[in-house]
């Protein structure tokens, strides 16, 4: 354990705590016990955060929509999640007669497990990463890809056309935007030169003139971050990309036929996915656990990480309260004809940035190329929209 003078005990409090607990055990057991403790911590903290977020979201949406939101259970309605939890646990678990029982049961379990696995590689503070894996980023995306299958399983096993349609939509959308998610992360990988999240954070944890070297503060990084944010929103099926669950068309999408605890698992999985994807975005673009100003480095690193994640969650909620839902063909067109080409261009620009060497020139060149293309592509898209007939090819 590293505890240099610059790093306060408060910063490393969780590490110290873990080491204190493990030292009661025989040496051979210690690593296993340490990992177990961390897993328990993650499994406790994030569902807790989930409970907090649901109330936060409902209150926030209420505020945006000019109403009060839940205020009956506990002070200011703060105990609402507990009430909801108890309700979910005690409700009858309905399985449709024609449904495929095993698959129907496995789907939410696989979803939640896969999403939880993703947290293993996120550095949540200095020295606070569960598994410091060399191919951590790849692991994260591999786990993210596995959730698609569980969504399909849920939709298909319900034997309900709304569920199936919702699942197909969700899978098509997730595959489309997963490419963007990956490619925008590749830009960061190219500059940081590693797939290890720890190292990516370290590369950003530097300051000049007291300002951080976060990747979002570079032209290519900003572009990649915007693309990442769009893809992340679509990947987590959040508004304005929440068509798979569009209640006005599909009742509730792939989890229409779920109730009780399994439904709660889906709900949990969805929010956990939001946390993990925000955490990855924070790691890749927002400097992970590093402080936004050098002067603020004394604040414990995990506070910064969770602060940034919660800020992203707030933006998710804000967007949900503000933007209307897209149509399926718009969604697909947007992914394949705007976001993906732009991300590819951003990769090219990143490569240029990498090889142009230090100096102001690369700032100018990459800004001009990215901004110019953005404007041109936007214009071209608008131009097409005026003349091209509306098609529903992807919506069939």
């Amino acid at each position: 354990m590293v505890a240099s003078s610059a790093v306060s005990n408060l910063d490393q409090i969780f590490i110290i705590l873990r080491d204190w607990v493990t030292h009661f055990f025989p040496t051979a057991w210690r690593p296993a016990i340490g990992v177990l403790l961390s897993v328990v911590a993650i499994v406790c903290v994030f569902p807790g955060l989930f409970a907090l977020t649901t109330i936060f979201e409902r209150k926030g949406l209420g505020r945006i929509q000019n109403r009060i939101g839940p205020n009956r259970v506990g002070p200011f309605g703060l105990f609402q999640p507990i009430a909801d939890g108890i309700k979910s646990l005690t409700k009858e678990d309905i399985i449709p007669t024609s449904a495929n029982g095993v698959v129907h049961f496995l789907a939410p379990v696989i979803l939640v497990v896969a999403v939880f696995m993703g947290f293993a590689v996120l550095p949540m503070g200095r020295n606070m990463v569960l598994v410091d894996m060399d191919a951590g980023l790849l692991f994260f995306f591999a786990m993210g890809a596995s959730t698609e299958l569980s969504v399909f399983m849920a939709g298909w096993s319900s034997r309900n056309k709304y569920s199936l349609l919702g699942a197909m939509r969700a899978v098509a959308q997730m595959i489309s935007y997963e490419i963007v998610l990956l490619l925008s992360s590749v830009a960061v990988v190219m500059i940081a030169g590693s797939l290890r999240p720890e190292k990516i954070v370290d590369a950003q944890n530097q300051y000049s003139y007291g300002l951080p070297h976060w990747y979002i503060f570079t032209p290519w990084g900003l572009a990649a971050f915007v693309m990442y944010a769009i893809a992340a929103t679509a990947e987590t099926n959040r508004s304005p990309f929440d068509l798979p669950e569009g209640e006005s068309e599909l009742v509730a999408g792939y989890h229409t036929e779920y109730s009780g605890f399994k439904f709660a698992l889906f709900f949990l999985g969805e929010y956990l996915a939001m946390f993990s994807i925000s955490g990855l975005g924070t790691t890749l673009f927002l400097g992970g656990w590093s402080a936004p100003l050098e002067a603020l480095s004394f604040v414990p690193s995990w506070i910064w990480f969770f602060g940034k994640v919660m800020m992203s969650i707030f933006v998710f909620i804000w967007m949900r309260g503000t933007l209307p839902r897209l149509r399926q063909d718009q969604l697909m067109n947007f992914a394949w004809k705007f976001v993906l080409p732009f991300t590819l261009l951003d990769l090219l620009v990143t490569a240029m940035w990498r090889f142009m060497g230090e100096g102001w020139l690369r700032w100018v060149v990459s800004t001009v190329i990215l901004a110019g293309t953005y404007v041109l592509m936007g214009r071209a898209g608008m131009y097409r929209k005026h003349f091209a007939p509306r098609t529903y090819r992807y919506a069939e």
């Binding site: 240029m352 090889f355 142009m356 060497g357 230090e358 100096g359 102001w360 020139l361 060149v365 001009v368």
Partner: protein, 704 residues
């Protein structure tokens, strides 16, 4: 990307602690790359995307201009700090044997100032083009070519490798061919393009020979490379120690070969014939070729290799020239002769652009003579000032042509002074600058510097008188042209109108530069010369009042006023009829006829070189028809006989056998085709079964 390759850099001159090429020098390649990239993109656009293509071309060149300005500022700040900047970035393109083909680019005062000039004038011409080509349906193609042209020229400017320079040079040649022949449906344009291409190719052959020779002698293609470049002392020593034919050193001979290439591109006598014909292209092309780019390339080339041209020049103790070299003498004489020769022809031309074309040839002669007599600064100063006022004149001429409904004959114009005020005023500025009107205009100072150098030259006297005579002629023919076009009564058809703002704005900008640029090269503050030679600018107002200078001032003023007066006396306010003979023609019809027919150079080529090739072509044609044709016919007959024999054999012997075999095969195929039951899985099974057999055989045979 190129930047991955080995990058070297130096700052020569004063040893200052700068061991790396500045970021601007490292990224200098962007200056030519952007317009070329833009042209590539434009080439992919469809015809109706006019706005986009113009935006791309102008945007990329503006960006290049911005970078060129930064580079220039970098060099100037170095110069102000007493450093003569010479930053080079070199890399190896490929290797063969022990030799490497190196490319690279250079940032020094010469390339910086030239890049700024090319970008700036080019940009103004691009903007002007938007107005001029407004109604042309091939607008996008035109911008594609223009952009490529600008990029290629910028490549010539920043090249630090003679090979890279040559590649860009040829690219310039290609694009000029494309641009001159832009209206290829006009037979004259197509012919002019071909002529330009072929004539410059004559010079380029010599240029290429020079390159190969230089590479063979020095083993490097780079100009500057930490002392091992071909223009640096050690290489020059090698070149001087080698002797070529006719008492020349290798340096001199290579210099002359390179000059031949420059002469072709810059339209020096006797390779000037293509330049006036190039007026068939659209006017912005004429301006681009004649002012900023192509013809300047030749002069720039000589300035770039000046160390080679002047190698072996005897020097006095103080470093001043105490003699000259054969190469420079040739440059001087060719330049001076071209100056007078072209000016003479210009007198008797009636096409507004053709007059300017001959004037350009003449001015290029001045530049060459300036390089030969006074060194890089003198020639380059005239190149820069000339670029501005000649671009101004061409764009003005374009504006006149545009305003007179595509009329180019000056006898059918007249009286435009009142119809086209802006054009007239700016054109007058350009004309006075070209004539070298004293004190106010930049042309005076730059031409004066050349005359001064010629006058002071202790070694060759003849060119001075030629150049003075040329100056008189220049003032004369320009006065004639302006009188015809702008004064007197209108002789044209239709009503002349002023051009749109997008065309006049560049004129005004160029006109202001045609006046202002003189300020950087006056004896009182010879900033330009000092900057190019890397010395601090020394001077003062008192130099303007020294006897020597005043004497020269008086001489050149007299020359100019003589020419202007003569012109006004013959043509001023006469307003002759369109079909009336010229005033000069009335005075001396025999001389006039000679001048009008361009001193019969084209005809001379027609009866000599072209006739020679024609004769050879006839011979080849005859050989083809009679000799080779006969042989081919004989061979064909032999084979035909064989074929007859073959046919007999086929019919009676082969076919019978074959038919029988085919029947057998068809029966067999019927049996085998049952295996082909069309099921993929059956095929897969057979395949797998084959694998089992093969594997079994393999393992069995590999038993220990």
């Amino acid at each position: 990307m190129l930047m991955l390759l080995q990058v070297e850099q130096t700052v020569s001159g004063h040893p200052v602690g700068i061991g790396y090429a500045s970021s601007i020098a490292v990224n200098l390649w962007l200056i030519p790359a952007l317009p070329i990239l833009a042209s590539g993109i434009i080439a992919l656009l469809k015809q109706p995307r006019r706005k986009l293509s113009a935006t791309l071309a102008i945007g990329s060149l503006s960006f290049s201009l911005l970078m060129a300005l930064f580079a220039f500022a970098h060099v100037v700040s170095g110069w102000a700090g007493g450093i003569q900047t010479r930053e080079v970035v070199n890399f190896t393109w490929f290797q063969f044997g022990n030799s490497a083909v190196d490319l690279g680019w250079i940032l020094d005062p010469l390339s910086a100032i030239m890049a700024v000039m090319v970008c700036f004038v080019g940009l103004l011409i691009f903007i002007y083009t938007v107005g001029y080509m407004e109604h042309d349906e091939n607008f996008t193609r035109f911008f594609c070519f223009l952009s490529l042209f600008a990029g290629a020229m910028l490549g010539v400017v920043i090249a630090n490798s003679i090979l890279l320079l040559f590649m860009s040079w040829e690219l310039v040649g290609l694009t000029s061919y494309l641009l001159i022949g832009f209206w290829y449906h006009k037979p004259s344009a197509a012919a002019a393009a071909k002529k330009a291409f072929v004539t410059t190719r004559v010079g380029d052959i010599f240029f290429l020979l020079g390159i190969v020779w230089l590479f063979a002698q020095t083993g490097t293609l780079l100009f500057y490379n930490h002392g091992s470049g071909s223009l640096e002392t050690s290489a020059l020593q090698v070149l001087l120690s080698q002797h070529a034919a006719l008492g020349l050193t290798a340096a001199g001979a290579i210099g002359l070969l390179i000059f031949a290439g420059a002469a072709g591109k810059s339209g020096q006598f006797p390779l000037h014939v293509w330049l006036p014909d190039a007026m068939e292209g659209p006017t912005p092309v004429s301006a681009l070729i004649h002012a900023a780019t192509m013809v300047a390339a030749g002069v720039y080339l000589i300035a770039r290799v000046y160390p080679l041209m002047s190698a072996g020049m005897p020097l006095t103790e103080s470093g001043a020239a105490a003699g000259t070299t054969t190469a420079l003498v040739v440059v001087t004489w060719v330049g001076a002769a071209t100056a007078v020769f072209a000016a003479l022809i210009a007198i008797a031309q009636n096409d507004i652009k053709r007059i300017l074309a001959y004037s350009t040839v003449s001015q290029l002669g001045y530049m060459m003579a300036g390089l030969g007599l006074g060194g890089v600064a003198v020639g380059m100063f005239h190149l820069i000032t000339h670029a501005f006022f000649k671009a101004l004149l061409f764009l003005g001429a374009g504006s006149v042509i545009h305003g007179c409904h595509e009329e180019q004959d000056i006898r059918r114009m007249g009286g435009l002074k009142s119809h086209m005020r802006v054009t007239f005023l700016t054109y007058a500025v350009g004309m006075l600058a070209l004539c070298g009107f004293p004190i106010v205009f930049s042309g005076f100072w730059s031409k004066d510097a050349i005359l001064e150098a010629a006058h002071n030259s202790a070694f060759i006297k003849g060119p001075y008188y030629l150049l003075v005579f040329g100056a008189v002629l220049t003032a004369f023919y320009m006065t004639r042209q302006v009188c015809y076009v702008f004064f007197g009564q209108s002789r044209g058809h239709g009503h002349a109108h002023e051009s749109p703002r997008v065309m006049t704005a560049p004129l005004v900008i160029l006109a202001s530069f045609a006046v202002a640029l003189g300020a950087i090269g006056t004896p009182a503050w010879p900033w330009f010369h000092a900057f190019l030679e890397g010395q601090p600018a020394s001077g003062g107002m008192h130099l303007l009042f020294e006897a020597d200078f005043l004497k020269l001032l008086a001489t050149s003023s007299v020359i100019v006023f003589l020419g202007l007066g003569l012109g006004w006396w013959l043509y001023g306010n006469k307003s002759p009829k369109a079909d009336e003979p010229d005033a000069f023609e009335k005075a001396a019809p025999a001389i006039w006829a000679g001048l009008r027919d361009r001193l019969y150079v084209d005809e001379l080529y027609g009866v000599t070189a072209i006739a020679f090739y024609y004769w050879w072509a006839r011979l080849a044609d005859w050989l083809d028809r009679r000799m080779w044709g006969g042989i081919v016919a004989a061979v064909a007959w032999v084979f035909k006989m064989f074929a007859q024999l073959n046919r007999l054999l086929d019919l009676h012997w082969v076919d019978g056998t074959f038919d029988k075999a085919c029947e057998e095969l068809s029966t067999g195929g019927g049996i085998v085709s049952r295996l082909q039951n069309g099921r993929a899985q059956t095929y897969l099974r057979i395949l797998a079964f084959g694998v089992i057999l093969l594997a079994a055989i393999l393992i069995w045979s590999a038993r220990p």
